[in-house]
């Protein structure tokens, strides 16, 4: 069938015919810009045309609205070669006029008047303007359509010169054709629309409508608009479906019965048809079955998609096409042979696949995404057919089935053999993928061969399945690929080649387990068990049986059956295993498939001491349907790499009784309370917030991790806790595992291993942060702890014992040995006990360490007491306590320091010749009571008189407070200082602490009195005695008198005045000799410098040794007297100084 736009001609027909071939050949040579209506994009179109002599008949149809755009003439040309105006006026004008009238009467305005010039008019220049025939024609007809009147030099006569004008002509024809199409398409579309409106009217025939709209599609196709052509087909497709599915049983649709013919033939689609319209004719002429009609529609759509280079779309549409057609066949209840539709589907699928395979590059994933399910479908359909025809493995076709094959084979039909490649060659982008390969057999042929014999069937099935899998894998649809693998595996099983099936099943199983599709994975396990049993792989069979029996999704009956199988097989395993050397680690199983580790808890007190036993409680859920005995259960632990702090935290977590809950809550959101306060502290809002860092997502991702079906890695089992011969009941079991702690360190549990016979169930990863524990050894130590200690009162001190990893005997004790003056005792806990005697203090104390455990830290309170030092010493008491501990042979000496509670000093005071002793008690850190102060002097002739008030009440003394006691010393006159240069005086006082006022301790202090005799007496007197005036010189009389005989003869006196108060006029110091003299008077001039009561200038008296003759002691020396030997009787006298007279004035 040819589709070429029709151009009619009238007028000088022979002339046109002479030009016809030239014009028709010229039209397709170039494209023409097509400006389309309704803002559709302009397009450059290459046109073809055919010519017919003008005929009214099609116009009649056009007028009646019963026309086809395909057959409708698109341009009408009137040809004339009249060059003579007169002739034109006489005849041609009327001819044209008549012709145009006809056209107008049919409402056609697509015309053109062509004037062929045989004479070159331009040569003769004697023309008047507007006198040529062309001008006349334009004047007569082309007032509005100037461009529709055109002249051309006859190319037959003016070969050279005509080219330009001929080119213009052809261009004009193209342009007018397209203009005509613009108009006609709109008109035709309107016509189609109105036809469609009537689709529910009686007598409406879909087939007519179909051709009508298809004509438009064909025109679009011709005009290089495949997508718009496709739209027409898609509309027809949808409309047809609508009819079938929704209004199918309406009586009005009589035409439907045409499609209801039984499916005696079920040819598939053929995308390599030479005559694209073979079927179109058939539809028009004889009518076709639904299947054929559908095939035709799809073929057309596919062809258009191919021309617009959208091969993936063909594949995408195929399944929809197949399935919807199947539904339609079912819906209108077409009779067909069993298997016929499978054949049809199969052939269609393969046809499209062959096209895609040839056309597409392997990296064009989009196409293969659609191809993969088609391969799968082809595979499934072939299987169905195989089942129908007895071609499955292990079957032999019965005669009935052979009959079916014959019937189906005839229904499949043949693809016309030599028509191949034609269709493909039309499209340049298609190419032969591998030239060496034999030309592919047509789909129909392949199917027929497959139905022909079991071997061919198997071969094709396996090929298709592999192709489906590889295509799915190619487009990374792994799950789908595995699903095909399941079918393939089953097929291999029925082929009795279970070893080939195992691979597919394990792949599927891995995929399903990785994503926790338990129900499906347990099904796959059943398949696997079947395979292994057939293969006689007892180890794999045992493992699979074990897994199956633990699948909670399966029925109990199935589970117990496989459990029994497992036990049975396990017994025989030992012998078979040793017989056949299987691959390494083949006896490993995934523990998680059979047991669920719920909790691991270290029972020991932490930390665990080296050489002790580690006790671990393992809580594990057995998934077996019945109880089972595990020979050993081992839990290995490895040295921990993470910091200790985290580890300890973990231990503490698991130590709490709510440990499992804590673990569960790890996946809970950490929601916190948030309270927002206003400035005045009133609550503004309360909310909960989940401040969760993104890194810690609550949901575990497993999709990316490929879970292994059997673990190949056994952890480091050099350190492990274990239990032997444990009966594990279904459900939760608590097992105590034990091991000796050999190596020191921080350990973490890594892997659990349950052994049954020769099988080892190894855990992949512990499901929670594995608890850590510490095995350690730590030295014991003891120390004394005290603050500043005060001598003389009971002081607390504590003995801190840190047990470390030392294991204490029950009667362990620490001996404390004190240095001199230091005593200890154990402190009593209760304060109510009566105060104990100081005698309970011992210098050697044994502290029992009762029930002392390793790593215990114990603090034992002690009390310590030391004597108060008798004299004031600059240094603190330095004492020590030596500890001897059970874990050490050497004594540990701890220095200990005391500060005195108080200190006593004494001073000697003089009043003339009377002497007084002042004892000053200075309080230091302690708060004490003082009582019963006494002085004692054993020196004969020395008496001490107590001048303190009687009776004495206890006096409190505390820090920075001083208590003074006063005594007079009376030395018998005979006993001169010569005889008694030192008088020893003992001061004794009792003291008690405020907390224990009844316990009085003694404090003693010895003083040495020297220089206690007054030797000289000083007297100073100012004259005038009364009323000293400021800045008036006064006379100061100084009298030095000897009180006691003494060896000091030369004395030096110095006036030590305050320079602001007194000025000494003249000498302020001098030396006097007391040899043979009892007293000396010296007069000095002093002047007061200030008013008021001024202290008398003080005088210092010193021993003077004049410098000798020798060089060594040429200088005089001055030695001060000790305070007891000189008495200044006027020391504290004051002088009243008044302002001077002059100043008053």
């Amino acid at each position: 069938m040819q589709i070429k736009p029709i151009i009619t001609y009238s007028g000088s027909c022979p002339l046109f015919r002479s030009l016809e071939s030239q014009i028709l050949n010229a039209i397709p040579l170039d494209t023409c810009e097509w400006r389309r209506t309704f803002q559709r994009p302009t397009k450059h179109v290459r046109l073809e045309a055919q010519t017919l002599q003008f005929n009214v008949a099609p116009l009649e149809k056009y007028k009646q609205g019963d026309w086809s755009i395909l057959e409708h003439p698109i341009l009408h040309i009137f040809v004339t070669e009249c060059n003579d105006v007169d002739t034109y006026k006489a005849t041609i004008r009327e001819e044209i006029d008549a012709w145009l009238k006809v056209l107008t009467s049919y409402g056609i305005s697509d015309w053109m008047i062509l004037l062929v010039e045989t004479l070159d008019m331009r040569k003769t220049k004697n023309f008047m303007p507007r006198t040529t025939v062309l001008d006349k024609i334009r004047l007569d007809f082309g007032t509005k359509n100037d461009d529709r009147c055109i002249s051309v030099l006859n190319p037959a006569k003016f070969e050279q010169k005509s080219t330009e004008s001929f080119r213009c002509l052809v261009q004009r024809i193209r342009f007018l054709m397209l203009t005509s199409y613009n108009r006609n398409i709109v008109k035709y579309e309107e016509l189609i629309r109105s036809k469609r409106e009537k689709r529910n009217h009686e007598g409406w025939d879909f087939r007519q409508y179909f051709f009508m709209q298809e004509d438009l599609a064909l025109i679009f196709e011709k005009l290089e608009l495949p997508t718009e052509a496709l739209i027409q087909y898609d509309e027809l497709d949808a409309m047809f479906s609508q009819f079938i599915m929704h209004t199918g049983f309406n009586e009005k649709q009589q035409w439907l019965s045409h499609f209801k013919r039984p499916l005696s033939a079920f040819h598939g689609i053929c995308l390599t048809r030479l005559d694209k319209f073979e079927m179109r004719e058939k539809i028009r002429e004889e009518g076709v079955s639904l299947l054929e009609f559908r095939n035709y529609l799809f073929e057309r759509q596919a062809y258009l998609l191919l021309t617009s280079n959208e091969i993936p779309e063909i594949a995408k549409r195929l399944l929809d096409f197949l399935f919807s057609t199947l539904r339609e066949v079912e819906f209108i209840k077409l009779e067909c042979q069993e298997g016929a539709l499978c054949c049809w589907e199969f052939v269609c699928a393969l046809e499209v696949l062959q096209l895609c395979e040839q056309a597409m590059e392997p990296n064009e994933v989009t196409c293969f995404q659609h191809c993969a399910p088609i391969w799968n479908l082809a595979k499934d359909k072939l299987y169905e057919l195989g089942k129908l025809c007895g071609l499955l493995p292990g079957c032999t076709p019965t005669s009935e089935q052979l009959h079916i094959v014959v019937q189906l084979s005839s229904g499949i039909g043949d693809a016309p053999p030599d028509q191949q490649q034609q269709f493909l060659q039309a499209t340049p982008q298609l190419r032969d993928r591998s030239p060496n390969r034999k030309p592919k057999k047509s789909a129909a042929q392949q199917l027929k061969e497959a139905l022909g014999s079991n071997q061919a069937f198997q071969k094709l099935y396996l090929e298709l399945a592999e192709l489906a899998i590889s295509t799915y894998k190619h487009v990374t649809r792994l799950r789908s690929a595995r699903l095909v693998g399941l079918d393939l595996g089953n097929f291999y099983c029925s082929l009795n080649e279970p070893h080939k099936a195992v691979g597919f099943f394990t792949d599927l199983l891995r995929e399903l387990k990785a994503e926790n599709w338990h129900m499906l994975s347990s099904q796959t396990l059943l398949e696997l068990a079947n395979c292994y049993r057939k293969m006689g792989d007892s180890l794999a069979y045992t493992k699979t049986c074990s897994s199956i029996s633990c699948c909670v999704e399966l029925e109990t009956l199935v589970r117990t059956f496989y459990f029994d199988e497992f036990l049975k097989s396990l017994k025989t395993l030992k012998t078979t295993l040793s017989a056949q050397p299987s691959s390494e680690n083949a006896n490993f199983c995934v523990l998680e498939d059979h047991f669920r580790i719920l909790d691991i808890e270290v029972l020991n007190q932490k930390p665990i001491i080296q050489d002790d036993h580690v006790l671990v409680q393992l809580k594990v859920e057995s998934l077996y349907p019945r109880g089972i005995v595990a020979e050993t259960i081992k839990l290995c632990y490895e040295l921990q790499a993470t910091p200790l702090e985290v580890a300890m935290e973990n231990v503490s977590l698991t130590a709490t009784p709510s440990a499992p809950k804590v673990k569960e809550s790890a996946s809970r959101l950490k929601v916190e309370l948030q309270l927002v306060y206003k400035q005045d502290n009133r609550l503004h809002s309360a909310s909960v917030a989940c401040d969760m860092p993104k890194s810690k997502q609550p949901v575990r991702r497993t999709s990316s991790t490929k879970r292994k079906l059997s673990p190949s890695v056994q952890g480091d089992f050099t350190n492990f806790v274990q239990a032997e011969n444990i009966a594990l009941q279904p459900g939760v079991n608590c097992i105590e595992l034990k091991a000796k702690a050999t190596r020191v360190g921080n350990w973490q549990f890594k892997q659990l291993c349950v052994s049954m016979s020769s099988l080892e169930f190894l855990s992949e990863q512990l499901p929670f942060a594995a608890p850590c524990f510490e095995i350690s050894t730590k030295p014991a130590s003891a120390s004394l702890e005290f603050k500043t200690l005060i001598a003389g009162i009971v002081q607390p001190i504590s003995l801190n014992v840190s047990g470390g990893s030392f294991i204490f005997p029950p009667d362990a004790k620490i001996t404390l040995r004190c240095s001199k003056n230091l005593r200890l005792r154990l402190a009593l806990d209760t304060k109510d006990t009566p105060p104990r005697d100081d005698a309970t203090f011992e210098s050697l104390l044994q502290v029992p360490l009762l029930q002392f455990k390793s790593f215990e830290e114990r603090s034992i309170a002690l009390e310590v007491l030391t004597d108060m030092p008798g004299r004031k010493v600059s240094k603190h008491h330095e004492l020590h306590i030596a500890l001897s501990c059970p874990w050490s042979r050497t004594e540990l000496q701890i220095p200990i320091e005391f500060q005195p509670a108080m200190e006593a000093t004494c001073r000697l005071h003089t009043c003339g010749t009377q002497k007084f002793l002042q004892v000053i008690m200075k309080g230091l850190d302690a708060h004490l009571l003082l009582h019963h102060a006494k002085v004692k002097c054993d020196v004969p002739g020395v008496q001490l008189l107590d001048l303190n008030p009687m009776p004495q009440q206890p006096i409190e003394i505390y820090k920075s407070l001083t208590v003074t006691y006063l005594y007079e010393i009376q030395v018998e006159p005979l006993k001169t200082e010569h005889e008694l240069p030192i008088v020893k005086v003992h001061f004794v006082i009792k003291y008690a602490t405020l907390t224990q006022p009844e316990v009085w301790r003694s404090y003693g202090c010895a003083f040495d009195l020297v220089d206690y005799t007054t030797l000289f007496k000083l007297q100073a007197q100012l004259e005038p005695n009364e009323l000293c005036r400021l800045r008036t010189v006064c006379n100061m009389n100084l009298k030095i008198s000897k009180v006691h005989e003494n060896p000091y003869t030369d004395l030096m006196y110095e006036v030590l005045n305050d320079q602001n108060l007194w000025a000494v006029c003249g000498r302020s110091a001098g030396v006097v000799s007391m040899k043979d003299v009892d007293s000396h008077s010296i007069s000095l001039d002093v002047m007061p410098l200030s008013t008021g009561f001024l202290p008398m200038p003080s005088i210092r008296l010193s021993k003077y040794t004049a410098g000798g003759k020798s060089k060594t002691d040429a200088h005089s020396k001055v030695h001060p007297f000790p305070p007891g030997q000189v008495y200044n009787s006027t020391k504290s006298m004051q002088i009243h100084v008044i302002a001077s007279v002059a100043e008053n004035l």
């Binding site: 599915m245 399944l319 929809d320 197949l322 399935f323 199947l326 539904r327 995404q369 399910p373 479908l377 799915y472 487009v475 990374t476 649809r477 792994l478 799950r479 789908s480 595995r482 699903l483 399941l486 399903l512 994503e515 926790n516 599709w517 129900m519 499906l520 099904q523 569960e664 996946s667 809970r668 959101l669 609550p698 949901v699 575990r700 991702r701 497993t702 999709s703």
Partner: protein, 137 residues
């Protein structure tokens, strides 16, 4: 509607139900395989986060079933299998089914006692889904 599946972000099934017990396994296999297409479609959609459409449309069809998909923003997938014979069911209605399913799911996981990622055992959810399923059977 013959099968409804709620599948977690790690592709583990959280809820599966079917009205056709005989074909349950087969349907499960197909639903599992449909995850391939879900992943494919999500991968394509990754480039344009703004116009993110939760409804994924038809994932694939077999002779007897049509499998539709929907993925929430938290990557939880809903997969619904519909009998091919049910031609009256339109795309819009499928969308509506998913919308309802999404609402039901959201209600179910809003339960403070529900731990995200675990399978949905809520009876109320189950009842509602069964109702949804029978309503469109």
């Amino acid at each position: 509607m013959s099968f409804v599946a709620v599948i977690g972000k790690d592709n583990a099934p959280m809820y599966l139900t079917t009205s056709d017990m005989e074909q349950e396994l087969d349907l499960q296999y197909h639903v599992h395989a449909a995850l391939d297409v879900v992943e494919e479609k999500c991968l394509i959609g990754k480039g344009v986060p703004e116009s993110k459409e939760l409804y994924l449309g038809l994932l694939y069809s077999t002779e007897n079933h049509k499998i539709y998909g929907f993925v929430t923003n938290s990557r939880v997938k809903f997969i619904v299998v519909i009998d091919s014979s049910n031609v009256a069911l339109r795309e819009n209605e499928v969308r509506a089914i998913f919308r309802n399913l999404h609402i039901l799911y959201t209600d179910a996981v809003c339960n403070p006692f529900y731990i995200p990622g675990e399978s949905l055992t809520s009876k109320k959810f189950d009842r509602a889904v069964q109702k949804l399923m029978s309503g469109n059977a």
